[in-house]
Symmetry: C2
C-alpha cells in the first residue's frame, strides 16, 4: 500500500464525523438558545474546537468498525454504521471535554492552533466586563467541558434505539475508562507538584490509563462492540491499543521536547516548565551527571524554559544516553504490538494500515 493510499483511508472518516457533529450541535444550538446565550455560544465554539483536531479517536472507531464488520454491515447507511458515526462524534466531544479541562489545569492558553476554550472565555469576559477574569474564564471553561461531556452522553444514548445492548456496552466501557483517565489525570497533577523523581512504572501506568487505553484501546474496542464482535476480539483490540497508545504518548513527549512549535500548536518546552513527569524526565535525572543535574534542577525551577535552556536539556538527553533509552523502549513496545497484531483476524489491507501507523509514530505527522 502506498503512503498516499493509507492517508486517504484514514482521512475518509473525517466527513461522517464532522457531519454527525454538525447535525447534533446545530440542533442543540437551536434548542439551548431558548435558555440563554451560552448554549449557542458553546455549540459554535465546540464545533470549531472539536473539528480543529485530527479526529484520530473518532476515526479509529470507524476504522475498527469497518475492519471487523461483515461485508453486509460495513457499507454506509446501515443503522449499525450510523450508530458508529454517532459514537465517533460523541467520542470526539469527550476528547474536547478532556482537553478543555486539561488546558485549565495546565494553564495552556493555546490548543490546536487556536486559543484554548477557557482562554477564549477569559478574553470574552475581559471584553465585556473590562476586568481581569482568569478565575471566571476558568469557571466558564469548567462548565464548557462539563456540557461537552453531557452532549456526548446524549448523542450516544440517542443512538441506542437500533442496537440498545451494544450501545449500552459502549456507555459502560466509556464511563469506566474515563474514570481511569480522571484519576490518572489526578496523578499527573499531583506529580507536577513534586520536585522528586517518579518511578518508571508509575509513569507507564499514568501513560496507560491517561492516554493509551483512552486514545487507542477504547476506540478500537468501541468499533468492535458496535459491529457485534466477540468479547475475545474486543479484549485483543484493547491490548493492541495499549501498545499503540504507549508509543503514541512517548512520541508525543518527544515532540514536546524536540518538535516545532509552529506544527504542534503548543509551546515547545511546555512539558518541562510544567514539570511533567515524562519518561524522558525520568531517564534524564537517572543518567545525568551530578553537575548536569544541578543545572537541570535550576532550569526546571522557573515558571518557563527559554530557548538556550531547552537546547541544554536536549543536549544532556543525547549525551547522557537518556534519549537512546527511551528509543529502545519504543522499539520494545513496537515489537510487542506487531506480535499482537499477527494474532488478530483482520484483513491484509487493514493490517497494513495498522503497521504503517506503528512505523510512522502513529498519525502524529498526518
Amino acid at each position: 500500500l502506498s503512503e498516499n493510499r493509507i492517508r486517504r483511508i484514514l482521512l475518509r472518516y473525517r466527513t461522517p464525523i464532522e457531519r454527525t457533529l454538525k447535525t447534533y450541535l446545530d440542533q442543540k444550538k437551536l434548542q439551548l438558545g431558548e435558555v440563554n446565550r451560552w448554549g449557542p455560544d458553546l455549540t459554535d465554539r465546540l464545533y470549531q474546537f472539536s473539528t480543529g483536531g485530527k479526529l484520530i479517536r473518532g476515526s479509529l472507531i470507524l476504522f475498527s468498525f469497518d475492519m471487523v464488520s461483515h461485508d453486509d454491515m460495513s457499507s454506509a447507511g446501515t443503522s449499525a454504521s450510523s450508530a458508529a458515526a454517532s459514537a465517533a462524534a460523541a467520542y470526539e466531544l469527550i476528547h474536547s471535554f478532556l482537553l478543555i479541562h486539561d488546558d485549565i489545569m495546565d494553564r495552556d492558553s493555546m490548543r490546536r492552533g487556536m486559543r484554548s476554550i477557557f482562554s477564549q472565555y477569559k478574553a470574552l469576559l475581559e471584553n465585556e466586563s473590562g476586568s481581569q477574569s482568569l478565575h471566571e474564564g476558568e469557571g466558564l471553561g469548567i462548565c464548557a467541558g462539563d456540557v461537552a461531556l453531557l452532549f456526548a452522553v446524549e448523542l450516544l444514548a440517542r443512538s441506542l434505539s437500533d442496537h440498545p445492548e451494544r450501545t449500552l456496552a459502549v456507555l459502560l466501557l466509556w464511563s469506566g475508562e474515563l474514570q481511569h483517565v480522571g484519576i490518572a489525570q489526578m496523578q499527573d497533577v499531583y506529580f507536577s507538584t513534586l520536585e522528586r523523581e517518579v518511578k518508571e512504572e508509575d509513569i507507564l501506568a499514568l501513560y496507560r490509563y491517561k492516554t493509551a487505553r483512552y486514545t487507542f484501546s477504547v476506540p478500537l474496542a468501541t468499533g468492535a462492540i458496535l459491529a457485534g464482535q466477540t468479547e475475545e476480539t474486543v479484549r485483543n483490540l484493547m491490548e493492541l491499543g495499549e501498545y499503540f497508545g504507549l508509543i503514541y504518548q512517548i512520541v508525543d513527549d518527544r515532540i514536546g521536547l524536540f518538535g516545532d512549535a509552529g506544527k504542534t500548536g503548543k509551546p515547545v518546552g511546555g512539558d518541562l516548565s510544567e514539570k511533567k513527569k515524562t519518561l524522558y524526565y525520568h531517564y534524564l535525572f537517572r543518567l545525568a551527571s551530578q553537575a548536569q543535574k544541578r543545572r537541570l534542577s535550576s532550569i526546571l525551577k522557573g515558571d518557563s524554559v527559554n530557548a538556550p535552556d531547552l537546547e541544554y536539556v536536549r543536549e544532556v538527553l543525547k549525551v547522557s544516553g537518556a534519549f537512546q533509552r527511551v528509543e529502545e523502549k519504543i522499539e520494545e513496545l513496537r515489537a510487542a504490538a506487531e506480535h499482537k497484531l499477527e494474532c488478530l483476524p483482520v484483513g491484509e489491507e487493514n493490517r497494513a494500515v495498522l503497521v504503517w501507523l506503528l512505523e510512522h509514530g502513529i498519525i502524529r505527522e498526518g
Copy 2:
C-alpha cells in the same frame, strides 16, 4: 398528618440511597485501586461528601416513584424499585459533581459542614509537597467532579438491564437537563463579573434552569418514568417541580442573607461578597434610595462582607420593601403550585406531604 410522620416519610428514603451508594463506591474503590491511589481516595471522599447532604434529590426520586407506582410495584425488592434506588444514588453523585465544580468557581472552602472537595485536595497537596497549591487543588477538584459524573453514568447504565427503555429515557432526560444546568451556571459566573443590575426575568430563568428543574422537576419526573407513567404525568410533574424549585431557590437566597452560618454550613453573606444576582439583589437596587445605593455599592465592592455591613443590607432590604416584594413572589409561586397539585392524580397522603413541603419552605429546615 402530623409533622413527625411527614418527616419520617421523607427520611425513610435515606437508607436505600446510602446503601446503594456504598455498595457501588466500595466496588469501585477495589477496582480503581489497581490504577493508582486516587481512585480509593476519591471514592471515600465522595461517599462522605454525598451522604453529608440531605439527599433531597434522591429522596424525591424514590418518593415520586412510590407516589405514582401501582401497589404491585411500590414494595421494596422489585427490580423496578432497585432501578429507582440506583437512579436515586446516581443522581446524588451528579449533585456532588455539580457542587464540587461550583465550589471551585465560587471559591467556597466549606460545604455541608466540611471542607469542600477542592479545598480538601489543596490541604492534601500542601501537606505532601509543602507548597501553596490552590491551582493544583482546584485541578484535582475538577477531576474529582468529572469522575463523580462518570460514576453516576455508570451506576445508572448498569441498572438498564431490567427496563432498558425506561432507564434510557432517564439518561436522555438527565443529560439534556444537566446541559441546562451547565449553561445556567455559565450565566451565573458571567453575572458575577458584572457590576450592573440584572433583569428579573433573567434571574428567574437562571433559577429555573440552574436549580428548579434540576432539584425538583427532574427527580419527580425520574421517579414517574421509572414507574412507567404516561408522558402527561411526567410533564405535569416537571411543571409542579418548577414551582417547588423556584420557591426553594428563593428560600435558599433568604437563608444566605438571614440564616445562621452554624446551621447552613456556609458563610453568611457569601452570596453578597460573590455578587450573586439574586432576586433580593435585584429588588434591593430597584427600591433603595440613592444614598442607600451608594453605601450598598461600596459594601459590595470588597471581597468579603463583614457583620455590620450585612446588618445594614438586611435593614435596607426590610425598610425599602425589597424583602416584602420577594415574599409576595414566593406566595404567588406557592399558589400556582397548589393549583397544579390539585390536578395531579396522587393519593391524599402524598398530596399532604407535598403541601407540607411547600408550607415549610421545602425541606430546608429538615
